[in-house]
Symmetry: C2
Subunit: 549 residues, 2 copies
């Protein structure tokens, strides 16, 4: 630091100032000398210590990986998931520090994490392991990445603070691969705690748990998403989300569905024009796709008999609820059918039953980890294996009998949907069910009217825990009928408009009858796990308030 | 049509006009009576014919599926792929008309298509099959969807006009499920022919093949994409594209990669700001993601050790070439590594070798169908199984020896890349190879500099048939080094800017060393098949000129 320039003053003050300055400079010089002496003493002590340090080669900070030429060590890094097979073996593994503390000059404990596992590690001074190394170990900053060599030993009694309770690591070598800076803007362990209620209110940010730790709200978590996502609960959520995508493709792939990618930039707002984001496309205007609907159907018209898509869906809805996002992942499918759109419904039901079954089988650990934090009930499925397929009119009847007031052709509100979910659970013992034959007026213009009642339609929604996860229908595959429905729709849709022309024409070339549906992936994950807010199921959620990080 | 009103005239002309009018009316009345008599005669004849029509129940147009109540027939629809197992059996199948013609009053031939198969069908008059039915069959409009009942018979000699040459269908019942309108704006068989050259020039639209058929250019095809996509060659391309996605996930999934979805709407232009599409986000400005780069890395920092993504990538580049799209599908991956970024390169090489091997095994029919239309050589892979991994400096040397003039740190032009591709093919007998250690200056700011030469970097590109399909690198995982590189980059990047702040901070929390890469899916398909234009590999391609359909 440079000394500030004197701020002026008259000649009378000059000698006074000069004196003061001289005194100051003397003081400074003395301080400097003292500091130098101290530094020298410390360095000498360290040199002596280092010379005496039997562990000097066994710990420290490694150079930045990639910044030195490659000399492979050939050391195999182990996974802690295999710990039972590694008992009494000397192993090498990468992990990071969940917690480090010095117990005494001779003993330090580390809580090490790798994936969903944590394990206790002991650094104990001995003939072969120096006190310097113990000190080093106990002072490593939380979240640093380590390369650890150690012996896997059975513990005398279960270690309650770790997920692996029957084993611990007796460390022999310990290197910091990448050091985490201190302080962190947020603690990962606070992100392990369940969100208070839906996590949307500002008041949540100020609350405290009964143990005095801060109750970290959703906004703080999302603002520090990199740290937040390190929480085991978040790893579990996104491993499950990845799993749902894999299972969706595995099942439909085995049924002959072809994975497609339809454009997200559209020359015209395809589905009515409301709630659509505008894009500046060179010197033109374009729009972001609100669904792959138009294109899925054009591909059916192109004789792709079964198509599926996993892709982003954009909705410019100013909805600030716990179950809306402006960008989410659509799991879409569309297929020809032979005689009746119930063939499509059966495909969708079988798909979901497969996904639920395999989530229970392949993602049991992750599912239990999340549900236990939120005290969520198991997801109930009918023992018969037959998904309740309830006519919309029957749903209305059930709600009326339970005291709700609504008309035959009214749409259900969210609370009514949840209410119906409870009634269905009571009657059918299932958290998953389908409503069939919705009123035509509350469905999109491309929905096939019902043959039995023109006020109804061949359309359906699927529900998990009383909340909608899919909307689908038989689509109109005849151009003239489609045009008629577009014109009579409220609001009417122009069949000759730029976004509709090619779509309508597609149905003049002998397009087979077809139907399909679109799932919201984040909703499937949210309701499978019983989570309070859909933002928890998006890595970097987008809502009307948030486009960062 | 109504008669035009008389155009006036004086009283002298009145009687003349009246006479003329009376004569006209008489003539009209006579014509009307004659037409009525003819219609009556025809109707009577038809009624007699119908009464005599032994096949009356066996053909006709079905009501619109979905518009009548469901009475399942229980009939199993067969796939023509299993034709050899169906010999001498009476089968039912859905198909569409590639071609129909009346040979005589007693005989009609249909060329029927289902998926990639076509088969000849015969409608022959007999005691049980009426001439009316023969006439009906021979006049069905091309592209109509049919439900056919018929007997599978071995043909006396191969049917050259069909893909199934050893069998034909002797039709017993024939129903139109969905009629195609006539005329079609484009013939599907014209879309089966290879594109002339790259298909971009307008002159292609006017050319003719030697057989006198029109040479349908790319624009006409893309403007009528629903019909164009029906071509077998296009079905094959997109089945292969779906296959590449499945194989990508199958391989990386087995290596522990988690499928992620990163946001496509960004609060700030993440990678420099050039070539980015702007979005109106409520009352704010937002941008479309040019790659998942920033988010993939933030997830590595969040301790997801291996991530992959399949998603749209948006580039506002005004490039009107045969290998650029403004929206394409990125196959992205990012992973931690232990000691050296070559671990990442090995993963990528093994991934591509797996994809090539399985494309050859599982998608042989589709690959051969497309390549044979374009007379494309087989895709050569090194017999040793070892992918040529060529230092960039060695690539420069090879090009110089072949007469190219370029500096040590110059980027390669597209023609130079293609030239190098030929040289590599000669030397290594491989259409797939990797260039390693690119000059730092021509790579993005987040690229790790080389430990051996600071002008180089730990980065690589992958090539197929001399054209780039992937760009990748070790990324900088240390915040201070990253900031330094951002500031010294040309043009400099602001590490505190809204798009970069969270990204840079992520590397303060102990992020492990990592690397990855991003493939262009359409390019993999294009170069695997040796196609002249990338638009052929996008269902509904987007370029600076095209956002429709």
């Amino acid at each position: 630091m440079t000394e500030p320039a004197p701020s002026g003053g008259g000649p009378a003050e000059l000698s006074k100032n000069a004196l003061k300055k001289a005194a100051k400079e003397k003081e400074k010089a003395e301080k400097k000398a003292a500091a130098k002496a101290k530094e020298l003493a410390e360095r000498q002590k360290k040199e002596t210590d280092d010379a005496n340090d039997v562990s000097a080669e066994d710990y420290g900070e490694l150079p930045m990986v990639g910044s030195a030429e490659f000399k492979p060590t050939g050391l195999q890094r182990e996974s802690l998931s295999n710990i039972t097979e590694l008992e009494d073996k000397e192993i090498v593994f990468r992990c990071w520090v969940a917690n480090a503390r010095v117990q005494s000059a001779k003993l330090a404990f580390l809580n090490l994490r790798q994936g969903l596992n944590t394990i206790q590690a002991v650094v104990a001074a001995s003939e072969k392991l120096s006190k310097q190394m113990v000190k080093f170990a106990g002072n490593i900053s939380t979240e640093s990445t380590l390369l650890v060599h150690g012996l896997v030993k059975k513990t005398p009694e279960p270690v309650k603070s770790a997920t692996i309770q029957d084993y611990e690591i007796h460390i022999t070598k310990l290197f910091i691969e990448v050091k985490a800076e201190v302080p962190l803007p947020m603690q990962v362990e606070d992100a392990e705690r369940p969100l208070p209620s839906e996590g949307l209110g500002d008041e949540d940010e100020k609350a405290e748990e009964s143990d005095g730790r801060p109750l970290v709200g959703l906004n703080t978590r999302l603002n520090n998403r990199t740290l937040d996502l390190r929480a085991k609960i978040n790893h579990a959520i996104f491993v499950i989300k990845s799993g749902v995508c894999a299972l969706f493709q595995e099942f439909l792939g085995s049924k002959g569905f072809v994975l497609i990618q339809t454009p997200k930039i559209l020359g015209a707002a395809s589905e009515g024009g409301a709630n659509v984001f505008q894009v500046k496309y060179f010197d033109r205007e374009a729009f972001l796709a609100q669904s792959p609907q138009v294109y899925k159907q054009m591909l059916i018209a192109s004789r792709f008999p079964r198509v599926m898509e996993i892709g982003p869906v954009f909705r410019a809805e100013n909805s600030n609820t716990a179950r809306h996002l402006t960008e989410f992942t659509g799991l879409d499918m569309e297929m020809e059918f032979q005689e009746n759109y119930h063939e499509v419904m059966s495909m969708l039901e079988d798909l979901m039953l497969f996904i639920f079954k395999e989530l229970n089988a392949r993602y049991k650990q992750e599912t239990e980890l999340v549900r236990s934090a939120y005290h969520v009930d198991e997801f109930k499925l009918p023992e018969s294996g037959k998904v309740p397929r309830i006519p919309f009119s029957e749903g209305i009847k059930m709600l009326r009998e339970a005291g709700e007031e609504l008309g035959d052709y009214d749409d259900l509100s969210t609370p009514q949907e949840k209410h119906l979910g409870k009634l269905v659970l009571e009657r059918y013992n299932s958290d998953f069910y389908v409503l069939d034959q919705f009123p035509l007026a509350i469905r999109p213009f491309y929905t096939m009217p019902s043959p039995t009642n023109p006020a109804l339609s061949n359309s359906y929604d699927m529900f998990m825990r009383g909340q909608e996860i899919l909307s689908g229908a038989q689509r109109v595959h005849n151009a003239e009928l489609l045009i008629k429905l577009m014109k009579s729709h409220d609001p009417p849709v122009d069949p000759t408009g730029p976004g509709m022309r090619d779509y309508v024409e597609s149905f003049r070339y002998g397009c087979p009858p077809h139907g399909g549906g679109g799932f919201g992936l984040e909703r499937i994950v949210q309701f499978w796990l019983g989570l309070p807010n859909i933002r928890m199921c998006s890595l970097f959620p987008r809502d009307p308030q948030r486009i960062m990080p």
